[in-house]
């Protein structure tokens, strides 16, 4: 099985490699005749053809082998048992202005708070942390067993907790990841509550960071796709620069797109089964013995071949065949 099938695209490199090699043959013959002299033309051409043929062939074989090594074919692999002693759950809540929209009653933020307190109630004995984010992230409750501390803060979640414009999912994830503490073999779960609206920041290194830290991420989409107008504190609709009423919608596609990876999930908060779904994901992580399928990549076979081919490619050139070329 190919672990990195994207690497097959690298075979396109062979087109210029082969093209240049063929061109070298035509030009090389001409050049050798011009410099080497017509009196030994036949001998030169023979030697050149053989050397050109093998060096080009070896370079192509080398490229093919390297690309196959990069595809990382994997065999059946071995199972590995990972001990675990509980879960650390960090909630990362989007507190940008759009989270006050009331397309799900009473508001997106409040529904998130409700879900968090329900989860905290249901998961006694685990450890929790709470972070919030707008344009930047902020740690509210560090990882603690004191679930009371978490639930007591929940009613105060609001866009006014600190001033920072925008809504950077990246900041939310980074702050969330940084909340986890070292030193224990506990499963790490990051639950992010966001409507995915007007996101700033890049998600370039997001997935790598998640994988590297061995973190399971659950995105909880808050709001509805149809959306609702945003209201100011006075109750009037928020207008944009053109004077249009701003409609805030749940950007479900974006979040679902992010959840394409193995350890990233997406759930909808308006789904009635959302609590049990989240618990199920957490339960799966909590099973004290997690069996991991570690497939071993067979890249070394191809890489060894590649090293051999490139060495031979160099040797073909070095070899003083018939003392000629």
């Amino acid at each position: 099985m190919a672990e990195r099938p994207d690497s097959f695209y690298l075979f396109l490199i062979l087109i210029p490699v082969v093209y240049i090699s063929l061109k070298r043959y035509v030009r090389g013959k001409r050049d050798l005749n011009a410099i080497g002299g017509k009196w030994r033309s036949r001998l030169l051409m023979d030697v050149f053809f053989v050397k050109w043929f093998f060096s080009s062939l070896l370079f192509v074989l080398f490229s093919v082998s390297v690309i196959l090594a990069l595809v990382e074919f994997s065999g059946s692999g071995r199972k590995m048992v990972e001990p675990s002693s509980g879960v650390d759950i960090v909630f990362s809540v989007d507190i940008s202005r759009s989270m006050t929209a009331s397309d799900i009653s009473p508001s997106r933020l409040q529904r998130s708070g409700d879900l968090i307190s329900a989860l905290v109630e249901n998961l006694t004995g685990e450890r929790f942390g709470l972070t919030v984010f707008k344009g930047e992230g902020m740690k509210i409750i560090p990882i603690t067993e004191d679930s009371l501390a978490v639930s007591s803060v929940l009613p105060y979640l609001s866009p006014d907790m600190f001033t920072s414009s925008g809504s950077s999912l990246e900041a939310g994830i980074t702050t969330g990841i940084n909340s986890f503490t070292q030193g224990e073999e506990r499963k790490r779960i990051l639950i992010i509550f966001t409507d995915g609206e007007s996101l700033s920041g890049t998600l370039f290194s997001l997935s790598e960071n998640i994988v590297e830290n061995d973190i399971t991420v659950i995105f909880i989409g808050t709001g509805t796709v149809d959306g609702i107008e945003l209201l100011t504190a006075g109750g009037a609709p928020v207008l944009d620069k053109q004077g249009e009423i701003v409609i805030s919608r749940l950007n479900r596609l974006l979040l679902q797109g992010l959840a394409a990876q193995d350890s990233i999930y997406y759930l909808d908060i308006s789904d009635s089964a959302v609590l049990s779904d989240v618990l199920e994901v957490i339960d799966r992580q909590m099973e004290s013995l997690v069996v991991r399928d570690l497939r071993e990549s067979k890249y070394r076979i191809f890489l060894s071949a590649a090293v051999l081919f490139i060495i031979l490619y160099i040797v073909v050139r070095i070899f003083p065949w018939k003392n000629t070329f």
């Binding site: 990195r4 490199i13 210029p16 490699v17 240049i20 090699s21 070298r24 030009r27 090389g28 050049d31 050798l32 410099i35 080497g36 050149f48 050397k51 050109w52 060096s55 080398f62 490229s63 390297v66 990069l70 990382e72 006694t124 004995g125 450890r127 942390g129 740690k139 409750i141 560090p142 990882i143 603690t144 067993e145 004191d146 679930s147 009371l148 501390a149 978490v150 007591s152 503490t181 070292q182 030193g183 224990e184 073999e185 590297e212 890249y299 070394r300 890489l303 060894s304 590649a306 090293v307 490139i310 060495i311 160099i314 040797v315 050139r317 070095i318 070899f319 003083p320 000629t324 070329f325």
Partner: protein
């Protein structure tokens, strides 16, 4: 740190020096065309194409370096990170710190009682390893600042941001103990302690210290009480966090030793008095030495294979040499 799954494969590197010699320095190597360009024993034609030679040199370097990377990648390199894993649960420690204005007493030089208490707490926490720490501040009210946890950085930040009189003028010692106990309730630690630092009498709050101590005792929490400061009149200076006004004056100092002793007794803890910053330091180090449990740890070794990165860089380097020589310089062979 880097480890190799197949270190034997690194031996192939030994082939590089002879190969480099044969390719670039051997007198009889192939790939060259015999062509007379010297006057024997007199002059040699030396073209001044230095830039070309530098570029070609760079190309050759990238070829050999790329090959080296591929050989290294072939040995299955992994980056190893070690993580210390604690097998035992630490002690939960809650600090309950008096934030009343009297803590501004300037008998703890160079700063005041409050500052030296903060410093001593910080160095205490720094000396702990894997023990969850929490922080409760009390004045007229008591507030949880940091729930007990292992995030020491967060703890230090919060401790640093504490200000005198944030919680009003008063000393709700009972409330402080109660809040700390409440937040230790869910803890799974076998040992939980509260370290109470105060310089006054309990004069606010709905819960009297004794009953709070009884609650704590019933939860199995030990309370160490530390009385700060000397008895008598001392100078005082602090800034009101709300108005920004600076208050100065003299203050009749003195903590209620009886209550503190009683609290300690009820919860099976201990009472200490600290007349000076140095004494406070000693007090906390003795608490530190009392409250120690043996920790069992093991090293968790995580490996992350890095061959892929090496292969990609090596491949790019070798392709660079190929395209440079065959495409830009149109090398014959």
């Amino acid at each position: 740190m880097i480890t190799f799954d197949y270190p034997g494969a690194l031996l192939i590197i030994a082939i590089l020096p002879p190969l480099i010699f044969l390719r670039h320095f051997w007198n009889r190597r192939g790939g060259r065309l015999s062509f007379s360009f010297t006057i024997w024993n007199k002059e040699v034609f030396r073209p001044t194409i230095y830039l070309t030679r530098i570029i070609l040199f760079a190309g050759s370097c990238s070829l050999w370096f790329g090959l080296l990377l591929l050989i290294i990648a072939n040995a299955g390199p992994s980056l190893v990170t070690k993580e210390k894993i604690y097998m035992t649960r630490g002690i939960d420690i809650m600090f309950v710190l008096d934030q009343s204005p009297s803590m501004a007493g300037k008998d703890f030089l160079p700063g005041n009682r409050f500052e030296s208490a903060k410093n001593v707490i910080a160095s205490f926490v720094e000396g702990r390893e894997h023990d969850p720490v929490g922080l409760v501040g009390f004045g007229k009210y008591a507030v949880l600042r940091v729930p007990p946890g292992l995030d020491y950085d967060h703890f230090f930040n919060q401790l640093d941001s504490l200000k005198l009189m944030e919680l009003g003028n008063g000393s709700a010692m009972g409330m402080g103990i109660a809040v700390a106990s409440l937040h230790l309730d869910r803890s799974s630690a076998r040992e939980k302690i509260i370290i109470l630092l105060t310089d006054g009498d309990s004069n606010a709050g709905e819960i009297i210290p004794e009953s709070a101590a009884h609650i704590a005792a019933s939860m199995g929490i030990k309370i160490y009480t530390v009385g700060l400061g000397s008895v008598g009149e001392i100078p005082l200076e602090f800034t009101d966090p709300e108005t920004g006004k600076i208050y100065r004056g003299m203050y009749e100092s003195g903590y209620n030793e009886a209550i503190l002793k009683e609290i300690a007794e009820i919860t099976d803890g201990k009472f200490f008095q600290a007349l000076s910053p140095g004494a406070l330091d000693t007090v906390l180090s003795s608490i530190d030495s009392i409250e120690r449990i043996e920790k069992r740890t093991r090293l968790n070794i995580k490996t992350r294979p890095v061959h892929r990165e090496l292969i990609i860089i090596g491949f790019i380097l070798i392709l660079f040499d190929f395209f440079l020589k065959k495409w830009i310089f149109r090398e014959v062979l």
